[in-house]
C-alpha cells in the first residue's frame, strides 16, 4: 500500500515536472484590475514577468471582494493559483495562520526588504518573522482634491493649510451656491472620511490608539469626540443627492467645478486624467494639513498560496523579484496612479500629487498605516456600521462613542 502511494507520487511529480518544463515557470495570478487604466498597469507586471522568462496566466476577476473570494475558495479547495492579490492589510492574516501561504523570505533577504520597505508595509506583510506577501504599490486613501475654478468662484484665495481654513473654505463655497464637499454616501466612503478626519482632527496618537491598540478608553477622550463632532459638521456641506452616489460621480462634480472638495484615495487621479485635467492646473491635491502631516499608507500586495511544487515555488520567487524591481515599480505605478513602494526611483515622470507622495514617504515619521492594516476585516466592518449610522442619522456623539466602544471591544 505504502509502495503504491509512493509510486503514484513519483509518477505524479514526474508528470508535473514534465508539464512545468513545457511551460517555463507558468504563473497563474488572480487580481481585480479590470478597468482601463488598471489593466494597462497590470500588463506592465505581466510583461516584466514574461521578459524574465516566465509565462503569465492572467486570472482577472472583476471586483475586489469577488477576486479575494475566488482566491480563498481555490485555496480552500486545494487548487490554489500561483499568486493572488490582496490589499496591504490584515485580509490575508487568517490565511497565514491557517498555514496556507508560502513565505518568500529568500527573495526578501536577497533584495534587502528590511532595509528599504516602509515600516507600515513591513508590519503588514511580515508575520512572525516571515515575509508572506510582495507589496506592489502605495495608495493613500485620504487625499483632499479640489477644483481650482470652484475655489476661485467662491473667493477662496489659497489651498487650506489647516482644518479651520478647510471649514472656512467650505463655508465660502456654500455661500457661493456651490456644493462644498462632493460626497458619495456609500459606507466605504463614509469610512474613508471618518478615518481621514480622525487623523487630521484627532491627530496621530488618537488615530493609533483607536485603530492599532483598539483602546476603548480613547474613544471617549477629547480627540475622538472632536473628530465625531467635525464629521457631523462635515455632513452639512454635502448635497441632498449624496446617499448611494458612486465615488467617481462625486469626483466628476469636482472636475466640472460644481463642487469644491472631495476626500478620496489617489485612484481619483485617473478620473481627472480621463477628463484631460492636470494636477496643479485645473485641480489641486493635498494629503493632509501642513508639511509634516502624516501620510497614510495602503495599497496592494500579492500572496503566494502554499505549494511544495518546486517549479511553482520558483515562479513565486520570480514574481516577487520582478514586481519590486525599480523599473517595474515606476512603469506599473505611473499607470496605476499609485506611488512605488521604494523611494530610490526616478520620480521625474510622475505627476505633482505623486511627487508629493514620494516626498512624504521619504520621511519615515510621516508614514502611517491605514486602518485595514491595523484591524481585522471583522472589526473594520463593525466600526463601519457605527460610522454609517452616525453619519446618516441624528445620533448624538455620546451614543456614537458608546457604539464605537462596543465595536472595538470585539
Amino acid at each position: 500500500m505504502v509502495r503504491t502511494t509512493t509510486l503514484k507520487h513519483l509518477a505524479l511529480s514526474a508528470a508535473l515536472m514534465a508539464a512545468a518544463t513545457a511551460h517555463a515557470q507558468k504563473a497563474e495570478v488572480i487580481h481585480w484590475w479590470t478597468s482601463g487604466g488598471e489593466s494597462a498597469a497590470v500588463k506592465e507586471l505581466a510583461d516584466a514577468y514574461t521578459k524574465a522568462g516566465g509565462t503569465w496566466v492572467d486570472a482577472a476577476v472583476a471586483g475586489a471582494d469577488n477576486a479575494r473570494a475566488a482566491a480563498i475558495n481555490r485555496i480552500a479547495g486545494g487548487n490554489p493559483p500561483t499568486a493572488a492579490q490582496f490589499n496591504t492589510s490584515k485580509q490575508y492574516h487568517d490565511v497565514i495562520s491557517a498555514g496556507q501561504l508560502n513565505d518568500i523570505d529568500v527573495v526578501a533577504a536577497k533584495e534587502g526588504w528590511d532595509k528599504w520597505l516602509p515600516k507600515p508595509i513591513i508590519d503588514s506583510i511580515k508575520v512572525n518573522g516571515h515575509y508572506y506577501a510582495v507589496p506592489v504599490n502605495i495608495h493613500n486613501p485620504a487625499w483632499f482634491w479640489y477644483s481650482k475654478s470652484a475655489l476661485q468662484k467662491a473667493g477662496v484665495a489659497s489651498e487650506p493649510k489647516t482644518m479651520d481654513e478647510f471649514f472656512a473654505a467650505l463655508d465660502k463655497l456654500k455661500a457661493a451656491g456651490l456644493v462644498p464637499l462632493a460626497f458619495g454616501g456609500q459606507s466605504w466612503q463614509e469610512w474613508i472620511t471618518f478615518y481621514s478626519m480622525l487623523l487630521d482632527v484627532g491627530g496621530k496618537d488618537a488615530y493609533l490608539k483607536f485603530f492599532k491598540d483598539h483602546d476603548v478608553a480613547s474613544v471617549n477622550a477629547e480627540p475622538m469626540r472632536k473628530t465625531l463632532a467635525a464629521l457631523k459638521k462635515l455632513h452639512d456641506y454635502v448635497d441632498a443627492g449624496s446617499p448611494g452616489r458612486n465615488w467617481n460621480d462625486a469626483t466628476a462634480m469636482v472636475i466640472s467645478g460644481k463642487a469644491g472638495f472631495q476626500i478620496m484615495g489617489d485612484w481619483a487621479k485617473g478620473e481627472f486624467g480621463a477628463a484631460k485635467q492636470t494636477a496643479g492646473k485645473e485641480f489641486g491635491c493635498f494629503a493632509g494639513f501642513g508639511p509634516s502631516a502624516p501620510y497614510m499608507v495602503a495599497g496592494d500586495v500579492f500572496v503566494f498560496p502554499k505549494t511544495s511544487d518546486k517549479t511553482a515555488i520558483e515562479a513565486q520567487h520570480k514574481l516577487a523579484t520582478v514586481f519590486t524591481s525599480p523599473v517595474t515599480q515606476v512603469a506599473f505605478n505611473n499607470k496605476k496612479g499609485s506611488i512605488p513602494v521604494r523611494t530610490d526611483v526616478d520620480s521625474s515622470k510622475m505627476d505633482l500629487c505623486a511627487q508629493a507622495g514620494v516626498q512624504a514617504m521619504k520621511d519615515p515619521a510621516r508614514q502611517i498605516a491605514n486602518p485595514d492594516m491595523l484591524m481585522t476585516p471583522d472589526m473594520v466592518g463593525a466600526v463601519q456600521d457605527v460610522i454609517t449610522k452616525f453619519w446618516n442619522g441624528n445620533q448624538s456623539v455620546d451614543d456614537a462613542v458608546k457604539a464605537l466602544q462596543g465595536a472595538v471591544k470585539g
Binding site: D65, N66, R68, A69, I72, A76, Q91, D94, V95, A98, Q100, G185, Q186, S187, D239, A240, G241, S242, P243, G244, T376, P377, D378, V380, G381, D385, T388, K389, W391, N392, G393, A403
Partner: protein
C-alpha cells in the same frame, strides 16, 4: 389497476425507474441537503475566513442577535415583505381581471407586464436609483416643469427609503402574479358567469364572491413565489441603495453576503443563514401541511 398480475415485470420497471431517479436523488441529498447541513454545522464553529472544525456552541448566534445591523435587517424585511406581497397580490389581481376581460392587445399587454420580471434587477435597479434621486430624477424634473415645491426624496431619507425598495420590487414582480392569476382565471368555467348574470348579480360581486374563492391555489402559488423572493431580496438593495442611507435599507441577505466575503466571517454568516432557513421553514411547513391535508381529503372524496 390490476393488482397482483405479473409482479416480476412490475418490480423490474420500478427498479429501472428508481435507477433513473438515482442521480437526482444523490444530487438533492448531497448537494442541497448536504450543504445545508454543513452550513448549519459551520454556524456552531468559530470559522473566520476558512471553515474550521471546532465547536463554540451558540456563540455565533449570541453575537448575531447582539448585532444591531442584523436586528435592523430583520425589521426591514418584515416591513418590506408585508407591503411587497400585499401590493403585488392586489395589483396583480386587478391587472389579471382587467386582462381577462378579453381586452384588445392582450398578448402585448401581458408581455409588457411580465417584462420587468425578465430583466436583471442589477440593470433596472440602477434606472430606479436615478429616477428616484432627488437631484437627477422625478423630483428635479417636476420642479423644472414649474412646481418648485414638489418633493420626492424618499430614497435619501432614512425613514422612507424602504418604501422605494417596495415600489421598485412591486414593479418587477407584479407581472409574475398577473401571469399566475390569469392562468387561474382562465380555468374558471365561463358558465358560472352566465348563470350569475341571469340571476342579476353585478360583475364586481361575481368577481369577489365567485371568482376570488376559486383562485385560492393560484394565490397560494403566487404567495409562495413572492415570499421566497422576500427572503432572498438582495439585488434590488445592492443596485438601488447599497443598504443606505446609513443602515436604513439593510436586509438579511446583504448581511450574510457582507460577512461571508468582505468581512471574512464565515461562522457568523452561516448562523445568519441558518436563522433565515428556520424562518422560511416556519412559514412554509404549515402551508405544506395544510396542502397535504387538503389533498388527502380530496383523494378520499
Amino acid at each position: 389497476m390490476r393488482v397482483g398480475t405479473q409482479p416480476a415485470a412490475r418490480r423490474r420497471r420500478a427498479v429501472a425507474a428508481q435507477l433513473a431517479l438515482l442521480p437526482m436523488a444523490i444530487t438533492v441529498l448531497g448537494v442541497y441537503i448536504g450543504t445545508v447541513l454543513w452550513s448549519v454545522r459551520i454556524s456552531f464553529s468559530s470559522s473566520k475566513i476558512f471553515p474550521t472544525n471546532d465547536f463554540v456552541g451558540l456563540a455565533q448566534y449570541q453575537r448575531l442577535f447582539n448585532t444591531e445591523r442584523w436586528i435592523v435587517s430583520l425589521q426591514h424585511i418584515v416591513v418590506f415583505g408585508v407591503l411587497f406581497i400585499a401590493a403585488c397580490l392586489v395589483l396583480g389581481f386587478l391587472l389579471a381581471v382587467f386582462l381577462d376581460q378579453r381586452v384588445r392587445g392582450e398578448n402585448a399587454l401581458r408581455t409588457v407586464f411580465l417584462y420587468p420580471y425578465a430583466m436583471s434587477f442589477v440593470a433596472t435597479g440602477l434606472v430606479w436609483q436615478w429616477m428616484l434621486n432627488p437631484e437627477l430624477g422625478i423630483q428635479s424634473t417636476v420642479r423644472a416643469l414649474g412646481l418648485p415645491g414638489f418633493e420626492f426624496d424618499w430614497i435619501v431619507s432614512q425613514d422612507k427609503v424602504i418604501y422605494t425598495l417596495v415600489i421598485a420590487a412591486v414593479w418587477q414582480a407584479s407581472g409574475l402574479v398577473v401571469a399566475v392569476l390569469l392562468a387561474g382565471l382562465r380555468g374558471i368555467d365561463e358558465a358560472l358567469w352566465n348563470a350569475a348574470r341571469i340571476d342579476g348579480v353585478p360583475r364586481w360581486r361575481y368577481t369577489l364572491s365567485v371568482v376570488l374563492p376559486q383562485l385560492g391555489p393560484a394565490f397560494g402559488t403566487a404567495f409562495v413565489l413572492l415570499a421566497v423572493g422576500v427572503v432572498k431580496v438582495y439585488d434590488v438593495v445592492v443596485a438601488m441603495t447599497q443598504g443606505g442611507p446609513g443602515n436604513a435599507s439593510e436586509v438579511p441577505a446583504k448581511f450574510i453576503m457582507d460577512n461571508l466575503f468582505t468581512r471574512a466571517n464565515v461562522g457568523l454568516a452561516s448562523a445568519a443563514s441558518t436563522v433565515m432557513l428556520l424562518t422560511v421553514l416556519a412559514l412554509l411547513l404549515p402551508w405544506w401541511y395544510g396542502r397535504s391535508v387538503q389533498s388527502r381529503r380530496e383523494a378520499r372524496a
